[in-house]
Symmetry: C2
DNA sequence: ATTTTTTTGTTAGCTTTATCACAAAATCAA
DNA sequence: TTGATTTTGTGATAAAGCTAACAAAAAAAT
């Protein structure tokens, strides 16, 4: 299959989460307009996405939820699991690790890296924190392919370089540093940018220039 | 000025942060290609964004950083400050409050709301936590127009409705609940979706179906 | 003085993403 | 049986976002 649009991939992730909930309450089929209304998007958008992944529904019955979930999973997941590392286990890193572990089960936190002597050797939600010196070794040994950067911004670029060199293929960067990466997918997850965007688009009308 | 594209607003926020850093080290002018390379985008993109906000540079000298920063500020900021509330001060809420306060100065956290008796009445980075019963009252009294939702997902929709009713104009939703809002700008800041997107686009090649 | 280089500003076009409009098929109603 | 209704699937079109290309102006080089 051809590479899917980013937006479609994002929605597939959301469809799956909604559909899994519906499956758990024994709903079997769903119409495009139902799924659309759960995501507050249009039914055409839903049908188009489903078309893009090559699934086909039943006329007048809708889509079989189980089949759709399975197909989305074969598309967006890898067969088997993906191992993840968190670099920098401060306030944010600690908030994230629990959340990730309890909200999906294909991407598994298997290692934490930090420079703080007090943290090295201890575990956070069952995951061991290693020293930064061991990063390359552990990344290779544990086949880690995804990393979250939650360390101080000035170390983000050099750490990202080391991670990619060691085999990481996807990086989610929570620091405000704008990274330059070759050979890995980057998600710049920048809260201040989003916050300022919210401020702009929610500006009280009489302020708009 | 006409409403700017979302992407442009996001980049303006990033331009400003980079430019402020350069100003602080006494750089006066910048070329589009320099700014572009700092953000890892193209120079045309930079020039187009700057054109959209109606700024004009000096031929062969580039853009005067001070002027550009000021203009971006008049566009994306409101004159004066915006007050912000955080609803749910758990792991994530606590991580956020400090970060927001120390990374920009136009959007000010002025209130926290929670149901936990132990948290109500105490302060987090100098901001008081109030009970949920007082939310409408405080939102009005403090003119809060932006809110972050970092409470359990099942309370997100009803809380958002109450906030909007009380006058909030922009909501950044950190919970996985997909909200349906009327009358406010919504940023669905969904980490799992982004994480699954990173996983998809960084899938080792031999896995791609 | 003329040519080359540099850099902005902008048009036109391209790519990606979303929506419109409607055919096709299944079911329902009369 | 006929016609209306519902719902999927998709080609065509529109909107948003990005890039290529180049004119214009200024400065530098020759
Ligand atoms: N707190 C937030 O809500 C928030 C939100 C968005 C982004 N961020 C960004 O995420 C990062 C972390 O934020 P935080 O609030 O958790 O900060 P923090 O100070 O609580 O944690 C940083 C952690 O990184 C570790 N560290 C320091 N230098 C390191 C290095 N060279 N290599 C590896 N680890 C190192 C520290 O020991 C600490 O454990 C910062 O860059 C911040 O800008 C934070
Ligand atoms: N931890 C993360 O990294 C992370 C990341 C993304 C999203 N989220 C989401 O953000 C939310 C908070 O995550 P967390 O890790 O901070 O959870 P948490 O359990 O640590 O904190 C939740 C807070 O909300 C309060 N609360 C409970 N019910 C409330 C109500 N009805 N009204 C107001 N406050 C209420 C609790 O007292 C607590 O202080 C969750 O919805 C989670 O799904 C968390």
């Amino acid at each position: 299959m051809r590479q899917l649009p980013e937006r479609t991939v994002e929605r597939l992730s959301q469809y799956r989460r909604v559909l899994l909930r519906l499956l758990s309450i024994k709903k079997e089929y769903i119409y495009s307009h139902e799924l659309a209304s759960l995501l507050h998007i249009t039914a055409v958008q839903v049908r188009r996405d489903i078309m893009l992944i090559g699934h086909t529904g039943t006329l007048r019955l809708g889509y079989k939820i189980k089949d759709l979930v399975d197909l989305i999973s074969t598309i967006i997941d890898t067969p088997g699991k993906r191992n993840l590392a968190i670099v920098g286990i401060g306030n944010l890193g600690q908030a994230l690790i629990n959340y990730i572990a309890s909200n999906q089960d294909k991407i598994i936190p298997v290692a934490i890296f930090d420079v703080n002597e007090k943290k090295i050797g201890s575990t956070f939600h069952g995951v061991t924190c290693y020293s930064m010196d061991m990063m390359e070794e552990i990344v290779k040994k544990e086949s880690i392919t995804i990393a979250l950067l939650t360390l101080p911004p000035q170390f983000a670029q050099s750490t990202a370089n080391r991670l990619i060199e060691a085999g990481v293929k996807g990086i989610m960067n929570f620091t405000p540093t704008l990274l330059n990466l070759q050979g890995a997918f980057l998600e710049q997850y920048d809260m201040i940018t989003s916050l300022e965007k919210v401020a702009y688009f929610s500006k009280p009308k009489f302020f708009v220039s």
